[in-house]
């Protein structure tokens, strides 16, 4: 008999609830873990997600639709009890906990274990089946302490008062977290932001996340941005947009920055290893802690994690999911 949860290339189907988790094609009923485009697509009939995720989807895809589900709240759907639990990835991100026929399945979505001033921390939920990501599923990925990375950014800024530091950070999540981390490190100067970040930062503020004074980086003289931090989406780092800035030091906040060649390819001068995904130690520690009897790996470098599970007597399989990692690359 097939299991009541079925992995498909386009998402995870929860048969008794007739609902899909993070489907990559429009479905009538979708359970969405968080707002990144590779998990939250437009065009679904009805969406269940946290209030924050729904707001993010409304911002990106237009009209609001769907049922908000608060963290910890229980939803019953065709004999399945569904709960959303903080995943610590971005604002509103959730693990989806499903219980049916005496079995508990946790779908992590994307997650991380370290503190993030812009979202609730990950809560481990013991379960029978854990469906996990593996974006940084190689032991070379071990994110350093966030505070020391932010300090390197501030040191570069203070060493070059005539220049600005331009940080590439993904528009949803990373950009706001970076700003939050800077504030937490005592940096209260105005931060200039690319136009593509404005609405998302405003949305975070609406949810009570204080990002301090943000100013648009457009339409002001370059010299006003000297000695300041400018945040833009990674795609704008080396593009025409950045020509307006005063001799920028190019930085990028991403877990991939740990590997020299990756940073060099992106023309980055100041690579900051700041990630919203679990690193290798977080992935393996979580597996130990949650202790599922079976692990399914959705996307990333699943081979290494599979091998690790095998050598630790844990049952695991890789799912062939399509279209992941399109937007949030770490």
């Amino acid at each position: 008999m097939p299991h009541w949860i079925e992995p498909h290339p386009t998402g995870i189907y929860v048969r008794p609830a007739d609902a899909w988790i993070d489907p990559s094609v429009p479905q009538a009923r979708a359970l969405v873990t968080h707002g990144h485009a590779d998990h939250a697509r437009g065009g679904h009939g009805h969406v269940w997600a946290t209030e924050e995720t729904l707001a993010i989807m409304a911002l990106r895809y237009g009209t609001a639709f769907g049922t908000p589900v608060g963290y910890g709240e229980e939803v019953r759907m065709g004999g399945v009890t569904i709960r959303y639990v903080p995943a610590g990835h971005v604002l509103g991100s959730a693990q989806i906990v499903l219980e049916h026929a005496g079995e508990r399945v946790v779908v992590t979505g994307d997650y991380k274990r370290r503190p993030d001033p812009t979202c609730k921390p990950f809560e481990p939920v013991p379960c029978d089946i854990l469906v996990t990501e593996a974006t940084f599923g190689l032991p070379v990925f071990r994110h350093p302490d966030t505070g020391s990375e932010v300090d390197r950014l501030l040191a570069a800024l203070h060493a070059h008062p005539d220049r600005c530091v331009l940080v590439g950070a993904y528009a949803l999540g990373k950009a706001q977290r970076l700003i939050g981390e800077l504030r937490g490190r005592g940096h209260h100067d105005p931060i200039y932001i690319h136009g593509a970040l404005e609405r998302m930062c405003a949305l975070y503020a609406d949810f009570g996340i204080d990002l301090g004074e943000l100013r648009p980086a457009t339409g002001i003289p370059a010299k006003d941005m000297r000695g300041h931090i400018v945040v833009s989406p990674p795609s704008a780092l080396n593009d025409r947009w950045s020509r307006r800035l005063p001799d920028p030091i190019t930085a990028m906040a991403s877990g991939w920055m740990r590997v020299r060649q990756r940073a060099r390819q992106k023309n980055v001068e100041l690579p900051l290893v700041i990630s919203d995904h679990a690193d290798w130690d977080e992935l393996t520690d979580t597996l130990r802690e949650v202790a599922p009897s079976e692990t399914w790996i959705t996307h990333g470098r699943e081979e290494a994690l599979l091998h690790w599970c095998m050598t630790h007597q844990m049952r695991a399989r890789a799912l062939e999911m399509v279209g992941r990692e399109d937007e949030d690359e770490g």
Partner: protein, 532 residues
Amino acid sequence: MRAFSQLLDGLVYTRSRNGKLDLIANYMRTAPDPDRGWALAALTGNLDLKAVKASAIGEMIRDRTDPVLFEMSRDYVGDLAETVALLWPKREDQPPEIDDATLSLSAVVDRLHAVSRAAAPAKLAQMMDHLDASGRFALLKLATGGLRVGISARLAKTGFAQAFNLDVDDVEECWHALSPPYTTLFEWAEGKSDRPDPAGTPFFRPFMLAHPLEAESVDLTDYAAEWKWDGIRVQIVGTGEQTRLYSRAGDDITGSFPEIAAAFRHHAVLDGELLVKGEFQGGQEHGGAAASFNALQQRLGRKAVTAKMMDDYPAFVRLYDILLDADEDLRALPWEQRRAALETTVPKLDPHRFDISALIEATDFESLADIRAGARDAAIEGVMLKRRDSPYVAGRKAALWYKWKRDPLTADCVMMYAQRGHGKRSSFYSDYTFGCWTDEGELLPVGKAYSGFTDEELKWLDRFVRTNTVNRFGPVREVEKSLVLEVAFDSIHESKRHKSGLAMRFPRIARIRRDKPPHEADTVAGLRRLVS
């Protein structure tokens, strides 16, 4: 170790020369002794450690990680030292990504000096436990003897000089009187002692360089003319006991050309062109021949040279000038007197490895122009003009020496691909690959250029690339084959590296030919006829 590992990281990621100099200068000012001295040794390639073999590193990591995970990681990262540095598992009681500041660079150097081959893996492992990923990478690179941060010894010395407001040439002059960790050098730099005395050591003197000739003509009673040979400028410094070869940047290249150093036992400092024997450029009537620059290139940038390399590409030096004759400094003398001294010196040298650059006999400037025009057939780059009364002075001084290159060749080519530049140009598509037509009507790439245009033209070219992209391959854009570029180049050679079988020397964009339809661009066959 953290300050040093951060410096290395900075040098890897910083593109601009000034940025790199700032990083080095800042480190040299702030790091403690003797750390900074060891760092200077490492950056200038003067840190002589018993190199730990890569196999020792492999052995060390296999004891500590799952071999399958290690192989997967190495496949992903590429570099062995980086892979090991990144996945190094620390002991349970230690925080994973902290440099605990218990290991200074000098402590690392001391231990690496002392370590035996057998004990290397264990000693390294012990040190690895105290470092963060950058520190572990720096340690492994130091241990295996290849920092590879993409800077020359000269740049490191320039950074050092900048830190203490010194003239790099003053540093250079005493450099070879010093040894790591350069205690006396730092004492002098900080004004605590006199400059170390370089007497008796083979140190580098800055080169005299030439301006391009822009005047219509010069008077040959004031200027002497000689051929401009296409090799690399070298300075041979001999003390009678030791001999060193320096490149134009002041880098010690003795190791790449041991046969030259071995053949020179003289006590003198000479300036000349390093060349490979052959018949490509020049001939009997030019006072000698030489192989092409491409042949010399086979010998450049090598740490170790095989006997076969020396046989296949035998090097020699064609001498231009003499700076010192024994201990007598001739640099203040007029060129004519130095030339006379050179002419008496050269016959005393091994004729197999040294000859003299011949002067061109021309009655007046017009006849010199004719001679120069004929030089293309002999594949000679051009003519040098040297004021007969010029002293030998560092750098480019107006009106003393001129280079008068023969006019460039040009070809009309079609832009095929474009790539972004670096640094200030990183938002511009500024590197262009262009091609010419085959007989079958196919475009084949014949070269790549990233200079020659004005800032305005660059903006226009960038826009052209963005609006005419037909394909993207990672950072490379393929463009609509519609734009003709007039490309200027000094010469063109057979090359196996390109599908067209041709390689240009110094290609640059001379003009954008918006007026010219692409099918009227030149052919590969036409270009081949220009091969010298």
